[in-house]
């Protein structure tokens, strides 16, 4: 048996060696551990996109203004105060004079201008580079048609920055508080180039600074000594755990390894809702998110050329059953594209469920639509969805619902990239989609379906709709008139039916009782400066 013994011993020795090499453990647990989503694409705020990235960015950086977690108007950030001209097109911000980067370098207005111009450059790869299109010359500069000097962002002094807008924007302040527009350190980027996001080079201007980063595992922060204010009971260390799988996140939360779980798997919701966790103010915090889950119907597809057919499909879906019986996570049934409670000038509210939302009515509508196309029944079509379990469940449920009005669809699961490519190419019949608000305004949703918008993807073109949105843009400031226009536009969008809204997302967060200062909000972001731990 010597061979066997050698083999066993050597495999054990190998295991022990690797064990040793890895240097597990090491760091002690941070004061607060947030179970966040997937690892951020980059620590460069301009290149981030997801809500999970935004939470990390909000800890590391501070924008000109910052969002109020309770939903109020934006608050002071880097800017101490700001003024807007009478016609609403010139905004000037007064920076706090004591602004510092986390390495102690002063942060002045010209560097801030440089940071915004960098955001616009295509080589930066900013996903939301069109966010600043309301600024004079920004869109042209972004496309390489105008020099940087033509962009309406200027520093009038070391502590004042001025924005010239092309047209009035419904919520310009909220826009400036978005994480892609957080400032980046010019002095570091000019020295290190794209390597500035490495842990050893990284410099930020927010309430926390980066200590260490383990790819796909954890990001550790500590208070930024150069931050403006010192909160007495502030966190001494904060860790973001990067976890892709919500089930794993829940496991970590239950095992006490994270204090906040930013997502909860669908399957756990019924149990959690029935348990004492769900009591108001206790561990499970729910909030409607400004986001809508909907289906796109491709109007260029032969099956969906007719608006009546599209509306019939929308009518046959019982959203209340979907949200209360299948999802059960606090999602709101959606008859609108814009989510309830979205504000900044609009008073659009959730439409009451149509009384005639019955299968018979849907069937009749379908027959009318098909008759006008000279068809007897709708040819079977493909419903594209991602490989996410929630998507699969919703699609299967839809299949069944539509079967009841005699419509056959085949649910096809595709990986997310293939799905998006096919959607962008218009190579689909029906596909699931979701839209999350960038800022709290109905126009952010409705402008997706303008004929010029790249987010449209349904082939639906309506001059009347475009005109309504154009008019709404001229009405910024007059909330009543503007929301009337937007409501008219949305009515048109829903009756023409290139989309079938299904539900409005809800945030589901688990927060341990000792975490204080956490406010659930519709944009699902966390203000780390407000958090503290009281055991």
């Amino acid at each position: 048996m010597p061979a066997l013994r050698t083999l066993l011993l050597s495999s054990l020795a190998l295991g022990a060696i690797v064990f040793w090499c890895c240097g597990l453990g090491g760091e002690e647990r941070a004061e607060l551990v947030i179970g966040n989503g997937p690892d951020p694409m980059s620590l460069d705020p301009a290149q981030c996109q997801s809500v999970a990235d935004g939470r990390l960015m909000a800890a590391l950086f501070s924008g000109l203004v910052t969002l109020d977690p309770t939903g109020g108007p934006p608050q002071q950030g880097m800017a101490r105060q700001w003024t807007v001209s009478e016609h609403g097109k010139r905004w000037s911000f007064n920076l706090r004079p004591e602004l510092r980067w986390s390495d102690g370098t002063a942060l002045i207005a010209p560097d801030l201008v440089w940071s915004y111009l960098r955001f616009l450059q295509p080589s930066t790869g900013a996903r939301m580079a069109d966010l600043l299109d309301c600024v004079v010359g920004a869109a042209d500069h972004r496309r390489g048609l105008a020099p940087a000097s033509a962009v309406g962002i200027t520093a009038s002094s070391a502590h004042e920055i001025v924005f010239q807008l092309r047209e009035i924007h419904p919520c310009f302040l909220t826009l400036l508080a978005q994480f892609p527009l957080f400032p980046v350190p010019r002095h570091v980027i000019e020295r290190h180039g794209s390597a500035w996001t490495r842990t050893e080079n990284f410099v930020s201007n927010g309430s926390m600074r980066l200590v260490s980063r383990r790819l796909r595992d954890s990001i550790r922060l500590e208070p930024n000594p150069h931050w403006l204010s010192k909160t007495p009971n502030g966190l001494q260390s904060l860790e973001f755990r990067c976890v892709d799988n919500p089930a794993t996140l829940l496991n970590l939360y239950v095992a006490g390894e994270v204090d906040i779980a930013m997502d909860v798997p669908m399957a756990a919701m019924p149990t959690l809702l029935a348990s004492p966790h769900a009591a108001p103010g206790s561990e499970l915090r729910r909030h409607t998110r400004l986001g809508t889950y909907f289906l796109r119907l491709n109007v260029r597809h032969p099956s969906f050329e007719n608006a009546a057919v599209r509306s019939a499909l929308a009518l046959a879906v019982d959203r209340v059953a979907l949200t209360t019986r299948l999802l059960r996570g606090g999602e709101a049934p959606a008859w609108n594209f814009t989510p309830p409670g979205i504000h900044c000038g609009t008073l659009l509210h959730q439409a009451p469920p149509p009384q005639h939302a019955t299968l018979a009515a849907a069937q009749k509508l379908l027959q009318t639509g098909l008759a006008s196309q000279g068809l007897r029944e709708l040819p079977p079509f493909e419903l594209l969805h991602t490989t996410d379990p929630l998507d699969a469940a919703v699609s299967e449920w839809l299949q069944q619902r539509w079967q009841e009005i005699g419509v056959t669809c085949r649910a096809v699961a595709l990986d997310a990239r293939t799905l998006r490519t096919r959607m962008a190419a218009g190579d689909y019949a029906a596909a699931r989609s979701t839209w999350m608000a960038d800022y709290d305004d109905a126009s952010n949703f409705l402008e997706c379906f303008e004929s010029t918008s790249a987010a449209n993807r349904t082939g639906w073109i309506s001059p009347a709709y475009d005109a309504l949105l154009r008019e709404a843009r001229t009405l910024v400031g007059d909330d009543a008139a503007r929301s009337a226009k937007l409501r008219e536009a949305e009515t048109l969008l829903l009756s023409a039916g290139p989309i079938v809204p299904l539900f409005h997302h809800a945030s589901r967060t688990l927060v341990k009782p000792w975490v204080r200062g956490f406010t659930p909000n519709p944009l699902e972001w966390v203000n780390p400066a407000a958090l503290w731990v009281q055991r």
């Binding site: 048996m1 061979a3 066997l4 083999l7 066993l8 495999s11 054990l12 190998l14 295991g15 690797v18 064990f19 090499c21 890895c22 597990l24 453990g25 760091e27 647990r29 460069d44 996109q49 450059q121 295509p122 080589s123 930066t124 790869g125 996903r127 580079a129 069109d130 972004r142 496309r143 390489g144 490495r198 383990r214 790819l215 796909r216 595992d217 954890s218 990067c242 976890v243 892709d244 799988n245 089930a247 794993t248 496991n251 970590l252 239950v254 095992a255 390894e257 990986d415 990239r417 293939t418 799905l419 998006r420 490519t421 096919r422 962008a424 989609s433 839209w435 790249a454 987010a455 993807r457």
Partner: protein
């Protein structure tokens, strides 16, 4: 000049090795075979790279396709930055010559890291997981196989057989879910996920090792049964050895197939860890692998594929080298 390392690695080196193998053939068969295998490693890597490159670019969906459409200029800027706007052939050539220098370029989805950095940070957890999984495989598989073979036809044998079938049938994600409930949530023995303390690696490696342990148990069982009927064991019995020593002798024979299987198992442990890594949030190579393929992170996917290919090749090779140590007959054939 830029392509010199690539030419050296993928053309000159295999030729030299094959030439050596041809000359060595006159002396020893075995050395020639090993040299030939070494020569085929760079060629295999090159072919795998080419095939993967073709597959990656044939598949619909690009790395920058998202729910929110990317502005056209930004897309162009990103493509220029990552060199995706060049002709396919140029991209492929650049990939090959980069590979020869060990540089796979920047990762498209983890933009703060280069592919080599991603791989280097992800390899240790994967190796740790794999090594422990192999340890579990042998520690559980061999005794179970021996036990079943010694009690052939009895209850123990049937139980082991059923366990083997169950472990072969259940995918690792199910196994992980089932084991987690008692060990993590009921008795709170082990942490739920991550690699932040040494005990955290026990459960994932067990889940990874159990299906392989089942295969090893099967190999040991059938190998021992065959050996127990063989002439060698009959000789041992005739020599009056106690039954325990006879079984040990039979096991020695059965180990031949286990060693031959080890190379395959080591490769399986490495490439099969992706589900486990995802479920236990372990920042290893497997999770990167699936993620990069699904995300169309072209550069990272290619880097990981090449690494896996080379590792699997080397592991299989090592198993072949080990074989004569356990089985003297292998040298002769």
């Amino acid at each position: 000049m830029q392509h010199l390392p690539a030419v050296l690695l993928f053309v000159v080196l295999p030729c030299v090795l094959l030439w050596l193998a041809r000359n060595a053939a006159r002396r020893t068969q075995r050395r020639a075979a090993l040299l030939r295998r070494a020569a085929w490693l760079p060629l295999t890597v090159l072919c795998v790279h080419g095939l993967s490159f073709l597959l990656i670019h044939a598949v619909p969906g690009g790395p920058f396709d998202d729910e929110r459409p990317l502005p056209a200029e930004t897309r162009a800027g990103l493509e220029a930055r990552f060199g995706l706007d060049r002709p396919m052939l140029v991209q492929w050539a650049a990939g090959v010559s980069g590979m020869a220098r060990g540089d796979f370029g920047p990762s498209l989805a983890h933009r703060d890291y280069s592919v080599s950095e991603v791989v280097i940070t992800a390899l240790p957890p994967s190796l740790l997981l794999g090594a422990l999984a192999l340890a579990w495989t042998l520690l559980l598989g061999i005794p179970a196989g021996v036990w079943a073979a010694c009690r052939r036809g009895k209850a123990a044998d049937h139980a082991v057989n059923a366990a083997i079938a169950l472990l072969l049938a259940l995918p690792t994600f199910v196994l992980a879910g089932l084991l987690m409930i008692p060990l993590v949530f009921q008795w709170r023995l082990l942490p739920a996920a991550g690699l932040h303390e040494p005990a955290a690696v026990l459960l994932p490696s067990l889940c990874l090792g159990l299906p392989l342990a089942a295969q090893v148990a099967r190999l040991v069982r059938s190998g021992m049964l065959e050996a127990l009927r063989g002439e060698w064991v009959r000789t041992l019995r005739a020599a009056g050895l106690p039954e325990r020593r006879v079984a040990a002798g039979a096991l020695r024979l059965a180990m031949v197939s286990v060693v031959a299987f080890l190379g395959q198992a080591a490769a399986a442990v490495l490439t099969g860890s992706l589900v486990i890594e995802q479920l236990f949030a372990i920042p290893g190579l497997g999770a990167h692998f699936v993620e990069s393929a699904l995300n169309r992170d072209f550069t990272l996917a290619l880097g990981v594929v090449i690494l896996y290919t080379a590792l699997a090749y080397v592991l299989n090779w090592t198993a072949d080298l080990l074989l004569p140590v356990v089985d003297p007959r292998a040298e002769v054939s």
